[in-house]
């Protein structure tokens, strides 16, 4: 078998090896990431015990939409009330958010008349 035909027969094996290698690395990444979860959870737990449970959404401050920082701080989008009523529709923290959640659905207080 000459060099050219040897190369020809090795190429598919090489390509398959590269693809399988890539898939293995991707799988290993997911396994390693899952393994790091307990350490992440411990750090999160310490922080949350310190601040009493704070933070939930993709906002890092309270300027635009406190609800997107933490729904415990405000019901719904602040933009819905000011500066223009109904402004929740163009709040960037909802319309373009990768981590969207609806306003809190609170249970009706006992003794109030329902529908």
């Amino acid at each position: 078998m000459n060099k050219a035909s040897r190369m020809h027969s090795i190429k598919p094996t090489l390509i398959l090896a590269v693809i399988v290698g890539l898939a293995s690395v991707a799988t290993a990444l997911m396994i390693v990431d899952a393994g790091a979860k307990p350490a992440r959870t411990e750090l999160s737990a310490e922080f949350q015990r310190l601040v009493g449970g704070l933070g939930f959404g993709p906002a890092l401050d309270l300027t635009r939409c406190p609800n997107s920082f933490d729904p415990r701080l405000d019901d719904g989008c602040a933009g819905d009330l000011e500066p223009l009523p109904g402004g929740a529709r163009f709040c960037p923290l909802h319309a373009g958010s990768i981590f969207y959640y609806p306003p809190l659905e609170r249970a009706a207080p006992a003794g109030t008349s329902g529908n």
Partner: protein, 391 residues
């Protein structure tokens, strides 16, 4: 089985026959999938931290309602809540917004009683703050970077208080690996936070811990205990917060998914062009195979194996690159798109989780993309007569 494997092997060999075309297809799939997988990984990272926020927070959050919005609650409500059956602990908290620095950097001020602080913490470089003068703060990493603050830095009075203002000292900085909401946080004793906001006798909310399964009973009890003409209580339970968490992968509204539906639709057109629909080369190749005795189903199996391997290559490469982008480069350039207020290179660890479900979804999407280019053209050519295919 042996025949099946032999045909599958030719599918692998066919990848080597058109290296440039297959490389371009795999790269196109990777480019399409990379931002999608990175975005989903960040969303799942935030979700993981949000779950911890619920799990390690209190059982109930009590505040007041005014004009349909949250309002501060008098500290007198503590005495009404503490004796209720099932209550194990009630803690007042202040959470408010301020600005700091010449550029008015937004800041989240959190005031907690020092009695709630543990003796040691690992999520802070430095130590926890103590009450008294000067004010002592633990600040977040983003704030520290933007205002050029570090341990021991002093801040001139930036607030107004009727009883006078004081210099503030940084006694701690949160670790970058702590949850993202530390980024612009100032943690300080409850009394100091009250001074910053020129408040006394009020908290933004009361944190209530209770015995298991007492949440609903306590919700009514607290409401009856503190309701009056001036106080309309608003109570949030842990269960209500858990209901907000998006439970399934596709339950994410917003324009993120819509954008990627458009991207994948355009992607199909790109891959159709690069995969050879209408190219005579593939038709001739299949014509030769048919002339040598290959059946239509064997040709399709060969194309199926080729498409599967290309899809696997594309999604694996996208996953590896997403991992590098998020874990090594800390989401450079992409974090700011999903986390409002984050810089191009955030000062905190961008949360991300690489999980199998998005990877599987990515594989299905990439397979649909690649197959639309290869399988259809292969079937058209395989179904034609040998002479027509070789023309």
């Amino acid at each position: 089985m042996g025949r099946f494997l032999a045909i599958a092997q030719t599918g692998v060999a066919s990848l080597a026959l058109h290296p440039l075309r297959n490389l371009v297809t795999a790269i196109a799939v990777t480019v399409l999938l990379l931002p999608f997988l990175a975005g989903l990984a960040i969303a799942q990272g935030i979700e993981e931290q949000a779950e911890a926020s619920i799990r390690f927070g209190s059982d109930l959050y009590v505040t007041r309602e005014e004009f349909g919005r949250n309002a501060p609650i008098p500290l007198a409500a503590l005495d009404a809540i503490r004796p209720l059956e099932g209550v194990t602990k009630v803690v007042p908290r202040i959470v408010g917004a301020m600005t700091l620095g010449k550029d008015d950097e937004p800041v989240v001020v959190v005031g907690m009683p020092v009695s709630e602080f543990p003796a040691e913490v690992r999520c802070i470089q430095g130590r926890l703050p103590r009450p008294g003068k000067p004010n002592e703060f633990v600040i977040g990493t983003e704030l520290a970077r933007r205002l050029n603050l570090k341990l021991g830095s002093r801040i001139l009075p930036f607030y107004h208080n009727d009883r006078g203002e004081s210099i503030s000292v940084i006694v701690g900085v949160f670790e970058a690996d702590a949850p993202i909401w530390q980024a612009r946080l100032i943690l300080t004793p409850f009394e100091t936070a009250a001074d910053l906001f020129n408040e006394s006798g009020r908290a933004t909310d009361l944190l209530v811990w209770c015995r298991p399964r007492y949440e609903e009973q306590l919700r009514s009890a607290i409401r009856h205990a503190i309701v009056s003409s001036r106080v309309r209580p608003r109570i949030t339970t842990r269960g209500e917060l858990e209901a907000l968490l998006p439970r399934d992968l596709l339950h994410r509204a917003g324009i993120f998914n819509l954008h990627f539906v458009l991207v994948f639709t355009v992607g199909i057109l790109v891959v159709l062009v690069t995969s050879g629909i209408g190219l005579s080369e593939r038709r001739r190749e299949i014509g030769i195979l048919k002339a040598t005795g290959w059946q239509t189903d064997e040709v399709l199996l060969r194309a199926f194996v080729e498409s599967s391997l290309l899809s696997l290559a594309g999604v694996s490469l996208a996953l590896v690159l997403a991992g590098i982008w998020l874990k090594v480069l800390n989401g450079y350039g992409i974090a700011g798109l999903f986390l409002t207020g984050a810089d191009l290179s955030p000062a905190f660890a961008v949360p991300s989780r690489l999980t199998p479900v998005p990877a599987l979804l990515g594989f299905v999407l990439s397979f649909a993309l690649v197959t639309s280019g290869t399988l259809y053209s292969s079937w058209r050519a395989a179904s034609a007569t040998t002479l027509e295919a070789m023309r």
